[in-house]
């Protein structure tokens, strides 16, 4: 991981409570932050001379929802969305994983996508990656310059990578299921 074990302490001293947790024992060690701190943490890890994480490799949203009610009780997690950011540095040759949790729906209203700050002003890669995450997983990135669907048609309804997604019955006369 970037910066070794010292990185977590460094981030904690700088951002305090905004660093929520970490797992340094995992195969890919990760640090959990608060969603509100994403932009500041992002700018810091990109510009800090010892980190220089100038490349954003991937943005992923993972939908943690057990749709089977029988299994849901034993699933071991509350329904939520998990955002995962994979960063790497070309000059320093190291990587970093940032994670945080989002509610599945904004204010618990089904169909209202949750909000997350956009990092497209820090890494331009995020522009398309956030559009894809919005399109398929249903996360609204506040501050994104052009948040439109990218892979699905613009009039598509729903977010296909949600676990409770139902394929529409028909789309412009094409049978869906």
């Amino acid at each position: 991981m970037a910066g070794g074990d010292g990185l977590l302490g460094k981030l904690k001293s700088k951002f305090g409570d905004q660093i929520v947790g970490a797992n340094l024992e995992a195969i890919d060690p990760w640090i959990e932050i608060s969603p509100d701190a994403l932009v500041e943490v992002g700018r810091f890890v990109r510009d800090d001379a010892s980190l220089k994480l100038e490349m954003l490799n991937c943005i992923t949203a993972v939908d943690w929802l057990e749709v089977d009610p029988k299994k849901a009780a034993k699933a071991g997690f509350e329904p939520h969305l998990e955002m995962v950011y994979h960063l790497s540095s070309i000059s320093k040759r190291h990587t970093l994983v940032l994670k945080f949790k989002l509610p599945r729906w904004k204010d618990g209203v089904e169909g209202e996508a949750p909000e997350c700050p956009s990092v497209s002003s820090i890494w331009s890669t995020a522009d398309w990656h956030e559009r894809e995450t919005y399109d398929l997983s249903g996360v609204i990135f506040t501050g994104h310059p052009n948040l439109r669907r990218i892979l699905c048609p613009e009039d598509w309804v729903g977010y296909p990578l949600r676990k409770d997604y139902q394929m529409p019955l028909e789309y412009h006369g094409i049978r869906g299921r």
Partner: protein, 401 residues
């Protein structure tokens, strides 16, 4: 308003005309897949390019949530369908990383042989199709003549010519057939002198140089900012190749191999072979350099295949037995990137302990490479758009997944 452009050769410089929206596509100008570009033009000058994607979207990630890792291998073939072997490898390594499954020496060398051959085959299409983009048909035929022979070799290995599903988590589906190495060696010996023909057809061709030099210049900072990888990044002079700088699980395949990252360092390219000279008009990061890096990588891959064949024939162990479908994936998540022909192909796997992944994600190299196109296509004549987009060497199957 006319777009400001410094190039005095463009005579329409201050001819004011109405702005026009021009559709390029949805069928692609050549064979990269289905891409639609909406150009805002003023006369011949393009002021804005908006790519529209998704024509080949097949929900590969959603499908991956319903299949075991081995069953998803055929879907990775269909992402970058020109380099199926390299896609298989990326996913296989990612699954092995989660399982902490280590391979024998022999299996690793086998993978190097296969993947570097895949890289040659893929760059050959990249080269031929780029000729098509620029309006010359013959390089395409030359490239496919050689590519066919690689596909014949692959067919002998796994039975398929395009969607191989050969490299799987745990190793490969079979060992190389008897006598295959000799055929491969034979092919490389015949192929090596032919590369000079390609250079004569394109790399050093005066018209080709005019069409590509100083066009679509991508600065190293912008390339990194947009997440461009592979030959697009190295064409801008960034010394970065995952085969050397990647994760240990991937770089250990190339442990002890002699190879130099192909990019312009201190004003020159590696000198391990006789390469054609860089033309005076070429600017680092332009279309010509991206193309040149690909051509040099073909020669480098040939070296790597030769080294791998020597090691493979004396290596111990077996070719690796594919993991069982019922193999439980430990709870957790792993991310792994490999150097596919078009750039860094990443796979992300999240498991909750079952034998089917909870979530899979494919980070596509072409997706990021294409995202820079609106930036570098600003203020160029329409005729340069295919030259620039072609030089990014995208495959839409991988972008749309």
């Amino acid at each position: 308003m006319a777009t400001q452009i410094d190039d005095q050769r463009i005579i329409e410089f201050d001819v004011r005309t109405d702005e026009m929206l021009v559709n390029m596509g949805p069928q692609h100008p050549s064979t990269h897949g289905v891409l639609r570009l909406v150009l805002r033009t003023d006369g011949e000058i393009v002021s804005e390019v908006t790519p529209h994607l998704g024509y080949l979207h097949r929900c590969a990630e959603k499908i991956g949530e319903n299949l075991t890792p081995r069953q998803w291998i055929p879907y990775t073939d269909r992402m970058d369908y020109l380099a199926g072997m390299n896609m298989n490898l990326g996913w296989a390594l990612c699954v092995e990383k989660l399982l902490q499954h280590d391979l024998s020496e022999k299996a690793k060398h086998l993978r190097v042989i296969i993947c570097e051959m895949g890289r040659i085959a893929s760059h050959l299409v990249g080269m031929g199709a780029y000729g098509l983009d620029l309006g010359t048909f013959s390089p395409f035929l030359y490239a496919f003549r050689e590519r066919e022979r690689i596909l014949d070799l692959f067919e002998e290995v796994c039975g398929a010519r395009l969607t191989y599903s050969y490299i799987t988590p745990g190793g490969a589906t079979a060992d190389l057939p008897k006598g295959w190495l000799q055929k491969c060696e034979q092919f490389l010996d015949q192929f090596e002198p032919i590369i000079a023909e390609y250079h004569a057809l394109l790399t050093t061709n005066a018209i080709f140089i005019k069409r590509t030099c100083d066009i679509g210049v991508l600065s190293p900072e912008m390339a990194i900012d947009f997440g461009c990888t592979g030959p697009v990044l190295r064409g801008s002079g960034v010394d970065y190749d995952l085969r050397r700088d990647g994760e240990e699980r991937y770089t250990e395949m190339y442990d002890g191999y002699a190879f130099e990252v192909i990019c312009q360092k201190d004003g020159h390219y590696p000198k391990d072979h006789q390469y054609p000279a860089v033309p005076n008009d070429a600017v680092l990061g332009d279309c010509w350099h991206r193309f040149y890096v690909r051509m040099l990588e073909v020669i480098q891959s040939m070296d790597l295949v030769r080294q791998a064949m020597d090691r493979y024939s004396v290596a111990s162990g077996d070719w690796g037995v594919p993991i069982k479908l019922a193999t439980k994936l430990p709870a957790g998540d792993v991310y792994l990137e490999t150097e596919a022909p078009r750039g860094q192909m990443g796979f992300y796997l999240v498991s909750n302990g079952g034998n089917i992944p909870w979530r899979v994600r494919a980070r596509s190299s072409s997706f990021c490479n294409l995202s820079v196109c609106p930036e570098i296509c600003k203020g160029v004549p329409i005729a340069d758009i295919p030259a620039i987009v072609g030089s990014l060497d995208i495959v839409m199957g991988e972008i749309d997944r």
